[in-house]
Assembly symmetry: none
Homo-oligomer: 204 residues x 4
C-alpha cells in the first residue's frame, strides 16, 4: 500500500518506452524520446536500465508476462473441449490485438533476428506455453471423443496462426488501409473454422 515511489519510476519509464518503441520500432527509437516521454533526463534512464537493449528487453518481457493467460484451469473436468477452445481463442485474440499489446508480435518478429534473447524468451514463454495449453485442450477433446484424432501439435499451429494473423492485420495492414476487422468476430469465425475440422464427423 505504501509502496515507495521508486517502483513507480521504473514503471513510468517502461510505459513511456512501450509507447515510443511501439510507434518507432527499436532502431527508430531514441533514448532522448523515451526520456522526454517519461519526463526524465536521459541520464536518469541509465540509472534504471544499463542500455537501450536492456530497456527494450525489460519492456517486452513485462508485456509478455502481462499477456499470458494468468490462470488456466488445471483440470478441464467435464467442460466440452469445443467450449474451452473457443474461449481460449477469444481470450488470446482479444488480448493480442489490444492496442497496447498488438505490437509485441510485430516487435518479436521484426527484431527477433537482432535480439535472439528476445525471440528465445518469447518462444519459450509465450509460444511454447500457448501451444502446451492448446495441446492439452485438444487431447482433452480427443479423450472425450469430441475431436477426431489429429496431430495435436500441427493443429496448434493452425489455431495459433489464425490468432497471430489477427494481431498482424491490426498492426501492419489496417494502418495502411486494409479493411478493419472486429477482433471478437474474427476470433469466433476462426474458432468455427478450426473446430469443425477437429470435431468428429459424427458430431451433429
Amino acid at each position: 500500500m505504501a509502496r515507495p515511489t521508486v517502483p513507480t519510476r521504473r514503471a513510468d519509464i517502461l510505459l513511456a518506452a512501450r509507447d515510443v518503441f511501439n510507434a518507432r520500432g527499436f532502431a527508430g527509437t531514441r533514448m532522448d524520446d523515451v526520456a522526454r516521454a517519461a519526463g526524465l533526463s536521459k541520464a536518469a534512464l541509465y540509472l534504471q536500465f544499463s542500455s537501450k537493449q536492456a530497456l527494450f528487453e525489460a519492456m517486452v518481457g513485462e508485456l509478455i508476462e502481462a499477456m499470458l493467460p494468468r490462470a488456466i484451469p488445471a483440470d478441464f473436468g467435464a467442460t466440452p473441449a469445443a467450449v474451452i477452445l473457443r474461449n481460449f481463442i477469444q481470450f488470446m485474440s482479444l488480448r493480442i490485438t489490444a492496442p497496447d499489446m498488438a505490437f509485441v508480435p510485430r516487435v518479436i518478429i521484426g527484431e527477433g533476428a537482432n535480439f535472439p534473447e528476445l525471440a528465445r524468451f518469447y518462444h519459450s514463454h509465450v509460444i511454447t506455453r500457448g501451444m502446451t495449453i492448446v495441446e492439452r485442450i485438444v487431447r482433452h477433446g480427443m479423450e472425450r471423443g469430441e475431436f477426431c484424432s489429429a496431430d495435436p501439435i500441427q493443429a496448434c499451429r493452425t489455431i495459433i496462426g489464425g490468432v497471430l494473423l489477427g494481431a498482424i492485420w491490426k498492426n501492419t495492414f489496417e494502418p495502411v488501409g486494409a479493411e478493419p476487422i472486429d477482433a471478437a468476430a474474427m476470433a469466433a469465425a476462426h474458432a468455427d473454422a478450426v473446430l469443425f475440422g477437429l470435431m468428429t464427423r459424427s458430431a451433429s
Copy 2:
C-alpha cells in the same frame, strides 16, 4: 548480344542487398556492407538507387513479385476444391519458407510501421491477391457442394494464418532453438486441419 552486362548491375546489387538486409534488418544494414557484398563502391550504389530506403523498397518489391503465384487457372473446371486448396497451401508454404523468401514477411511485419508504402504494397499485391485466390477456391468448393457454407473471407484468414505462421516459425523461432518443422509436412497438416472444417458433414 553484347549487352547483357548492363542489366546485371542492378540485379547484382539487389541480390547483395537481399542478403544483407536479410541478415541484419533495415536499420542494421550499412550501405558499405551492401556495396562490399555487391563488389562495388558505395557511390556506385547511389548511381542506381537514390537512397537506402529506395534500395530497400526496390529489393522487397522484387522479392514480392517473385513470390506471387504466377498463374492460377482461370477456371477450376471439375477439379475438386479440396485438391486445389491443398495444392495452393503447399505452393505458398514452400514458396514463403524458401530460404531466400522467408524474410519477406518478417521485414514487412517488422518494418511496416516505418515503411507504410511497403506495407501497402504487400497488402495489396500479396495479401489481397492471395485472399482473392483462396476465396475463389472456397466458392468453387461451395458451388460443388464440397464445402459447407462458411464465410469465405474468414476462412481465408485461418488458411493464410497457418501459412504465415510457418514462415515466421522458420525465420524467428527455429534460429533460437524451436524444433524445426518440415514445410511440406506442416502444409499438409494445415490443409487437413482446414479442410475438414470446410467439407460438408455429409461427405463421409
Copy 3:
C-alpha cells in the same frame, strides 16, 4: 554570480565560427574545424546549433547587430549636417573595415544567393537602417540650407557605395597585392568628395 559559464559556451562557438567562416567561406568551412577551434566536439556544436546553416546565420546575425551604430542622436539640433555626415562616414568605414567585421559584406554578397534569409536580414537591418540614417542627415542639411536639394535616396547610394568599397578593397584586393589604404584617410576623402557635391554652391 555562479553561472557566467553557461552563456559563454554559445559565444565561444560563435567566435570560433567567425574565424573559420572568415578564413574559408561557408562551403569551405567544416564543422570539424569550427569544433576544434572552439575546443569542443562536433556533436557539442549541434547541441547549440541545429545545422551548419543555422550556425552561420546566427554568427552573421550577431556580427551585423554588433556592427550597427548603436545610438544615433534622435535630434541633430544645430550641428551642421556636414559634420554629422563626416562623422557617420568615419564611423561606418572604421567599423566595416575592422578586421573582425570586414568579411561580413563579403559573405553577404558572396553567399547571399544561397542564403536569401541572410541577404534579406542584412538588407533590412543594415542597408535600410543605414540609408534611413543617411537620408535623415541629408534632409537635415537641406533644411538648414547647407545642402542643395538633391534626391536624398540617390545620394545615399553614392555615400554608402564608397563605404562599401572600402570594406571590399581591404578584404578582397589588399590580400592579392592592391595597395593598402588607410581606412580613416579614405573615409575623409570620400566625405570630401561627397560633401562638396551636396553643399550649396553659395557656401564658399
Copy 4:
C-alpha cells in the same frame, strides 16, 4: 570565317558554366549540372577544362574581358571632362548590371578569398584599368579647370563605389525584396552627386 566547330564546343561550355555558376555559386555548382546544361557528358568537360577551378577561372576571365570598355579615346580633346565622366559612369553601370554580367562582382567578392588568382586578375585587369581611366578623366578635368584639385585616386573610389553598389544591389538585394532601381537613372544620379563635388564652385 570557316572557324571549325571546336571553338563552339568550348564556348557552349563556358556559356552553360556561366549560367550555373551564376545561379549557384562556385561551391554550389556541380560539374554534372554544367555538363547537362551544356548538353555534354561530364567527361567531355574534362577534355576541355582540367578541373572545376580551371573552368571557373576561364569563365570568369572571359566575362571580365567582355566587360571591359573596349575603346577609350586615347585623347579626350576638348570634350568636357564632365561629359566624359558621365558617359563612363553610364557605360560601366549598364554593363556591370546587365543580367549576364552582374554576378561577376558577386563572384569575385564572394570567392575571392578562395581564388586569389581570380581576385588578382580582376584587380589588375578591371579595377586598375578602370581606375586608370577615371584618373585620366579627372586629370583631364583638372587641366581644363573644370574640376577642382582633389586627390584623383580617392575620387576614383567614390566613383567606382557607387557603380559597384548598383551591381550588388541588383544581384544581392533586389532578389530578396529591395526596391528595384533603374540602372540608368541611378547612374545619372550618381554622376550628378559625384560631379558637383569635383567641379569648381565657380562653375555654374
